[in-house]
């Protein structure tokens, strides 16, 4: 009976964590991998690891940071692999709507499609480190210290990467303003 309750608790914990973090982790993978199909694969890998880890750790564990670190390492591994580079060079077509989890708000509608494509394109042009820092700080809204701890950097280094990324994005988009 005790085993059954334990399995049930693990299952509940997994489902709860999945609901709370899947969209966030998937978006991070899309930011760091560029190819949404592969990002989905990596996100699934991350939650497979979560399924195993949820049997070991209790609910009070720092799951958010753990999931982010696992996703970060998985994306780095993919980026390092040679076939990933080859795949990245291939032209890819996919439907944007396939990955949209919700309808854009009126405020989001104000940003034109061309502008969104341009911003994504510029973000993809950032260095991997700048992408990691920018995503954690501005998309995930982590503090500079949390980002530094996650990436094993000093806060000063995080700030430098952040400012360079912001400056690059703004400078490149300067023509539209």
């Amino acid at each position: 009976m005790g085993d059954y309750e334990s399995v049930l608790n693990e299952q509940n914990l997994y489902e709860e964590l999945y609901r709370a973090h899947h969209a966030r982790v998937a978006q991070l993978c899309r930011l760091w991998l560029h190819d949404p199909h592969e990002a989905e694969e990596v996100a699934q890998e991350v939650f497979l690891k979560l399924l195993q880890a949820s049997k070991v750790h209790d609910p009070s564990f720092a799951w958010k940071a753990w999931l982010t670190r696992v996703a970060l390492n998985a994306c780095r591994d993919r980026r390092r692999s040679s076939w990933w580079k080859w795949w990245r060079e291939k032209p890819m077509n996919f439907e944007e709507e396939q990955f949209s989890s919700r309808n854009p708000t009126p405020e989001e509608e104000t940003v034109s499609r061309e502008e969104r494509e341009r911003i994504w394109g510029l973000f993809r042009g950032l260095s991997p480190r700048q992408q990691e820092v920018f995503a954690l700080r501005y998309v995930e809204e982590w503090s500079v210290e949390e980002v530094a701890q996650m990436l094993d950097l000093t806060p000063g280094s995080v700030k430098r990467h952040l400012f360079r990324a912001v400056r690059h994005l703004r400078k490149s988009l300067g023509g539209r303003r």
Partner: protein
């Protein structure tokens, strides 16, 4: 207000850092506050866009019709090129001088076909060039038969009055 704040300082202020002098400056300088507000708006747009689904990495393939239109001139050029090459080769073959040995052989073949072969196949003498004797007698037939020339036909007295008596009738 002789010097405006650098972009880095504006960004640090957005991050909750910067000195009190910088804050005092930005509150007093309309140019810097405008630039700061623009920075805040830009970061808001970046956040908003990067939280959405990414756009396609490449535009969708062109419709098939456009591809066909592109291939039509290419096909036309290819056909024209092939025709040109073929025509040139054809003209070159026509203008080539015939080698003497080949010409002589062709002449021999033509002579054989037009003169010697009909003589072998059609051994009857040419009636257009031959000339029948004006007056045919049995003797003449006999002589012709002996010479291997005209066929020896007996003279029919009913057909011609000038027919001489058949010499063969004398032979028992």
């Amino acid at each position: 207000m002789s010097r405006h704040l650098r972009d880095e300082i504006l960004w640090l202020l957005h991050e909750g850092e910067g000195t009190s002098a910088d804050r005092a400056h930005i509150e007093a300088c309309s140019s810097c506050i405008t630039r700061y507000q623009q920075l805040v708006r830009d970061l808001k747009v970046f956040r908003q866009v990067l939280r959405e689904a990414p756009p396609p990495l490449q535009a969708a393939p062109q419709p098939r019709r456009k591809l066909q239109i592109r291939w039509v001139p290419a096909a036309a050029v290819m056909v024209a090129t092939l025709l040109l090459v073929w025509g040139q080769e054809w003209l070159r073959v026509l203008t080539l001088p015939v080698p003497p040995a080949e010409a002589r052989r062709n002449q021999e073949i033509a002579q054989f076909l037009t003169k010697e072969l009909p003589l072998v196949l059609f051994s009857t003498p040419d009636l257009s060039t031959g000339k029948l004797p004006a007056r045919t007698t049995n003797f003449a037939y006999l002589q012709a038969a002996l010479d291997g020339g005209w066929p020896s036909e007996p003279c029919d007295p009913a057909r011609t009055a000038e027919c001489e008596p058949d010499p063969f009738s004398l032979i028992p």
